[in-house]
């Protein structure tokens, strides 16, 4: 079995996806993912330069809706599944750092 992806890379991806893996699982997934990547590389080796890129399997394009307001949820409905709320807002533990 080739190893296109190392257990260390698997652990990194798992961290990004907030999955906790044991070392054994990381080993196992590294090998399984490598075979997936092997398959992708087989496909990559085909000459497809005259084919159009498939951006979406449906074949539809330009599906839009008109810009008109539709009423949504009330504040109470929106917050009904919040773990905690304050001042009409979802209340969660603080997250360090800032997002993008």
């Amino acid at each position: 079995m080739s190893s296109r992806i190392s257990p260390k890379e698997v652990a990194h991806v798992a961290m990004l996806a907030r999955l906790s893996l044991t070392d054994e699982e990381a080993e196992l997934y590294a090998s399984q993912l490598s075979s997936v990547l092997d398959h992708a590389s087989d496909i990559e080796s085909l000459d497809i330069h005259d084919l159009e890129v498939t951006a979406h399997p449906l074949g539809l394009v330009n599906r839009t809706r008109s810009d008109s307001v539709v009423s949504g949820l009330s504040q109470a409905e929106a917050l009904s599944q919040a773990p905690d709320e304050a001042q009409g807002m979802f209340s969660v533990p603080p997250v360090l750092g800032e997002p993008s």
Binding site: H56, S68, A78, M89, E98
Partner: protein, 495 residues
């Protein structure tokens, strides 16, 4: 601007291109996010409004609830493409991607954005100074919710006890405009954002309010020795809430980096936060770890393939862009360069007035002056203030039906009571005095000031002002100065 310059004095800089120590130059690119002026959000029918009560413009889609699906807002797409056209970009076939990250401002745990194939690519913006700033891309994406940190020391991020989230902004349509690293000074960055903002406002894409967050700017800043070709490590600066912050932050950051290199240190690629009160940037996180967004194509949205016909239809809706407005006024006034009056007169609110007055063949100098001074001071104008009223008033002034001073008072009256200039003229008692009435008043002034009259009659031209002043006083300013002079001169000839 004046303030920013004063504050930067201790750094010995004025925001100009030679602001860095000898031999160093700035390399800066800007990412500008603009919220689009649509009625609804990008992928759902929730209202896109600022300042509503928290979590009242939300639905399963923008809350990221299971089973909800995004459907693209037609108008948002149109506006996004118009931004591309206004920036001379190529509007092209594109797709949406998911940008994955875990942060509570995005309840789906991903943001729908565009990645390798943006809607608009490869444009440019020409600044009033003539400098051309390349635009790499302008893509469509959804805004995030807004987080307020509660508790902890001074409500800052560190030490906060709770994070409160309002998802009203979640899913609001955004276009991110990414410039090429063509910006060479803090002043140029200010000029770029200012011109970009005017352009976005002119085409109706955005309200351009930096203070409300509808226009947000991040700056990518690096420095290099002049003559060096490759780029050095850059830092991304966030939290630039005003043009003043933008100029100050870029200036500070460029100096910080030069100082680091001069001290033999390295600059680390990272995201930095501008602290307005401290006047400095502080490190938030190192870039490499944070930016692993695992983009992949959004399976719930189909590709966009804009037709030529659709694009041309949007192009015809663009109207005159700020650079075209500026060029028109500069040319009408017979100038070679813009000035403060022109810059004011091309604003989104005032320009339709200037444009209509010029189209009616009125004097460009009076038109631009009345727009930039009197009309601007009356802004914001009521929606029912008719452009034709302004044109009519300028015509009255040009024809000498009213004096310049009267015209200004009439304009204020028109704006206040939303009545026509004729009606305002009547209300103010500015009905024009006839030549007979003026002659009578002039004769009275001559009788009362015989010595001055004799001097004027025998050639002391400077006494003209004396008599005009007397007539104006006697008529409570209702007389037309030009008519007074005409009659004064005629009377002097006769006697």
């Amino acid at each position: 601007m004046a303030n920013a310059e004063t504050d930067l004095k201790d750094l010995g800089v004025r925001g100009e291109s030679d602001f860095l120590p000898d031999g160093w130059e700035l390399v800066c690119g800007l990412e500008v996010h603009t919220e689009l002026k649509t009625k609804t959000k990008l992928f759902c029918g929730c209202a896109n409004v600022f300042g509503a009560q928290a979590n009242t413009n939300v639905c399963p889609t923008c809350l990221g609830l299971p089973g909800s699906l995004p459907v693209l807002n037609e108008r948002a797409l149109e506006i996004a493409a118009m931004i591309g056209l206004a920036l001379s970009a190529k509007v092209q076939a594109s797709i949406f991607h998911r940008k994955n990250y875990f942060y509570p401002d995005m309840p789906k745990d991903f943001q729908i954005s565009q990645y390798d194939i943006p809607l608009n690519a490869d444009g440019y913006l020409i600044l009033p100074s003539g400098k051309r700033i390349g635009i790499e891309r302008a893509h469509v994406e959804e805004d995030t919710g807004k987080i307020t940190h509660l508790g902890g020391a001074s409500g800052r991020i560190h030490g906060a006890e709770r994070a409160l989230i309002d998802y009203n902004r979640s899913g609001v349509p955004l276009v991110e405009i990414v410039s090429r690293p063509d910006i060479a000074s803090p002043e140029e960055a200010r000029e770029y954002v200012s011109e970009l903002r005017s352009t976005l406002v002119a085409i109706g894409a955005s309200d351009g309010k930096m203070e409300e967050g509808s226009l947000r700017v991040d700056a990518n800043v690096s420095v290099r020795p002049i003559g060096e070709t490759p780029f050095r490590t850059r830092c991304e600066i966030k939290n630039l809430n005003s043009l003043r912050s933008l100029v100050r932050a870029i200036t500070f950051e460029a100096h910080r980096q030069v100082a680091a290199y001069l001290a033999g240190e390295k600059v680390t690629q990272q995201t930095r936060h501008w602290d307005e009160s401290a006047g400095r940037t502080v490190a938030l996180r190192n870039k490499e770890e944070a930016e692993d967004y695992r983009y992949f194509p959004e399976p719930d949205l189909v590709p966009l393939r804009p037709s030529e016909e659709w694009i041309e239809g949007l192009r015809s809706q663009l109207g005159e862009l700020p650079k075209e407005r500026r060029a028109r006024l500069v040319e009408s006034l017979g100038l070679t360069d813009t000035n403060d009056q022109i810059e004011t007169a091309i604003s989104v609110e005032l320009y339709p007035f200037a444009r209509s007055a010029l189209a009616a063949g009125l004097d460009p100098k009076i038109t631009v002056a009345r727009c930039a001074n009197e009309l601007a001071s009356l802004a914001p104008l009521d929606e029912s203030f008719e452009i034709s009223w302004f044109v009519e008033l300028l015509r009255m002034e040009t024809n000498g039906e009213v004096s310049a001073t009267q015209a200004k008072s009439i304009l204020a009256e028109v704006a206040k009571n939303l009545i026509s200039p004729k009606a305002a003229q009547e209300r103010l008692g500015f009905s024009q005095l006839t030549d007979d009435q003026l002659t009578k008043t002039i004769n009275e002034a001559i009788l009362q000031n015989p010595k001055e009259w004799e001097r004027f009659r025998t050639g002391e031209a400077q006494l003209q002002g004396f008599f005009v002043g007397k007539i104006m006083k006697a008529t409570s300013g209702k007389a037309d100065g030009k008519a007074v002079v005409r009659i004064l001169l005629a009377t002097a000839e006769q006697r």
